[in-house]
């Protein structure tokens, strides 16, 4: 509070901004103004520093990194729009659906419209609600009706988004089942009753 922004000449301003910017670029956590004050032996008021920080943030407009004021202080961070590029440098191993999810999805894809009971009958194990929920949230399956049997179970089918995400123009683009039939041998091990996502 000892100085006002007007007191700084251009060279002083430039110097303070340079030091502040550098400190924020090398910081591994947000820096509150109280900490940033310690950079300088000649004390600057919080108002002066905040004004300079706003100016630095403004300097970074249009660049891939932005200076933001968080609850715990100021920090530089990459803009969200840079994410697709940056992710290419660190390709994370994409998560995989469990076998239970994949089999459920395959049954819905090939046998639609199908009820949960029918899926269970084919898989030989119960299908957890979490699996159906996950596929619904992904918008890959939805309810296209109800089967007119006791309980009126949901009839599940795949969606257009499912086809789009898998790069298919229609269900007929799926690997044909008729050809698949001859490729398999009975599984040796009993099926695990796993039903988690």
């Amino acid at each position: 509070m000892s100085e006002t922004p007007e007191k700084l000449d251009d060279a002083e301003r430039a110097h303070l901004k340079k030091v502040l910017e550098t400190a924020l670029l090398v910081a591994t956590e947000p820096l509150p103004v109280a900490t940033l004050k310690q950079l300088f032996t000649v004390p600057s008021g919080a108002a002066v520093l905040n004004e300079l920080l706003d100016a630095i943030a403004h300097d970074w407009n249009g660049r891939g990194v932005e200076l933001v004021r968080l609850a715990s202080g100021w920090r530089f961070r990459a803009r969200l729009e840079m994410q697709p590029y940056l992710e290419r440098l660190h390709p994370e191993k994409p998560p995989r659906y469990s076998r239970a999810v994949m089999e459920t999805l395959a049954i819905i894809a090939y046998k639609q419209p199908v009820t949960r009971g029918e899926i269970e009958e084919i898989r030989g194990v119960t299908v957890s609600s979490a699996i159906i929920q996950a596929l619904k949230e992904r918008e890959w399956i939805d309810v296209v009706g109800h089967k007119e049997v006791p309980g009126r179970p949901e009839l599940l089918a795949t969606t257009r988004a499912f086809l789009d995400d898998l790069g298919l123009s229609g269900l007929s683009d799926l690997p044909p089942l008729a050809e698949l039939g001859n490729l398999v041998l009975p599984e040796p091990a009993p099926a695990a009753p796993a039903s988690e996502v």
Partner: protein, 279 residues
């Protein structure tokens, strides 16, 4: 020499490190108190020997063995009094110095095939020079700016967790999932997994979607006439299949009036859970 990290305190002796030792006073006398500090700062017998030689401004190629050995022994004795555990390597050097000196006193043997005489000091000189070279190199290395000590690295945040990655699935994954089901089904013979034309199933889902919400649709509205005869046939089969599975009702009040199609449950007790008409 056991310390990995220096305390950072700068005592005068530390200036030895890498700096020309010849700048020090020429006299041989070192007060005993200073000697203790000095010994702490030596990196070993080579270091001490090098210091003695440089300090006396002796040409390293012409070491007066008697004088240097005598001085060296003085230091070693002082060291033994205070830091015995350091002394072993120094004593070894002392032995070497005395050996060199004694060999110099003896008649020189002809040692190599060419008849060259080997000076017993040659190996010592080589080691001293090599050590001095490394000592200087270490000093130069230490003067290079070090990350963390002399400069900091930029570390801007990249909030990767902002987007949740969903599993990727391809047609091949569906295929292998299906193969797994099939393999199990073969083992459990009572399951009959039927192979059907997919396009019929696709149309069945499509028709159910069109009828979702309990709408009545004219029969002909189920058919997309723009996509060829095969699709019309498949759609018709799908309608028959849906009727057979009691998913839909197809009604016609009398002959030659429009046929209407609706969901089997529609119009009776419909819950609100039916999906809305999606495009």
């Amino acid at each position: 020499m056991n310390a990995i990290v220096d305390a950072g305190a700068i005592d005068p002796v530390a200036h030895l490190f890498g700096e020309p030792v010849t700048e020090l006073p020429q006299d041989l006398y070192i007060p005993p108190d200073a000697l203790r500090v000095l010994l702490e700062s030596f990196e070993g017998p080579l270091d001490l020997l090098l210091y003695l030689i440089r300090r006396q401004n002796i040409d390293i190629l012409d070491i007066p063995m008697a004088a240097v050995t005598a001085q060296y022994m003085q230091y070693v004795e002082a060291m033994q009094a205070s830091r015995l555990e350091l002394a072993a390597e120094y004593l070894l050097m002392a032995a070497m110095l005395i050996e060199i000196k004694s060999r110099l006193l003896l008649p020189r043997p002809v040692s190599s095939e060419e008849g060259d005489e080997l000076d017993p000091r040659a190996e010592l000189v080589r080691r001293l020079l090599e050590y001095e070279q490394i000592k200087l190199a270490a000093y130069e290395l230490d003067r290079l700016p070090q990350a963390g000590r002399d400069f900091l690295l930029v570390a801007v945040l990249f909030e990767k967790e902002a987007v949740v990655r969903l599993p990727d699935v391809g047609p091949a994954d569906l295929k292998s999932a299906w193969l797994a089901i099939l393999a199990r089904a073969r083992r459990q013979q009572h399951h009959k997994v039927q192979l059907e034309a997919l396009s019929v199933r696709e149309q069945m889902s499509h028709i159910l979607r069109l009828l979702a919400g309990g709408r009545y649709l004219p029969f002909q509205d189920l058919f997309d006439t723009t996509r060829g005869v095969p699709l019309l046939v498949v759609t018709f089969i799908a309608v028959l299949e849906l009727v057979k599975e009691k998913h839909i009702l197809v009604t016609q009040d009398e002959g030659y009036v429009p046929i209407y199609v609706r969901l089997a449950g529609a119009g009776t007790a419909r819950e609100g859970s039916l999906v809305e008409q999606a495009a």
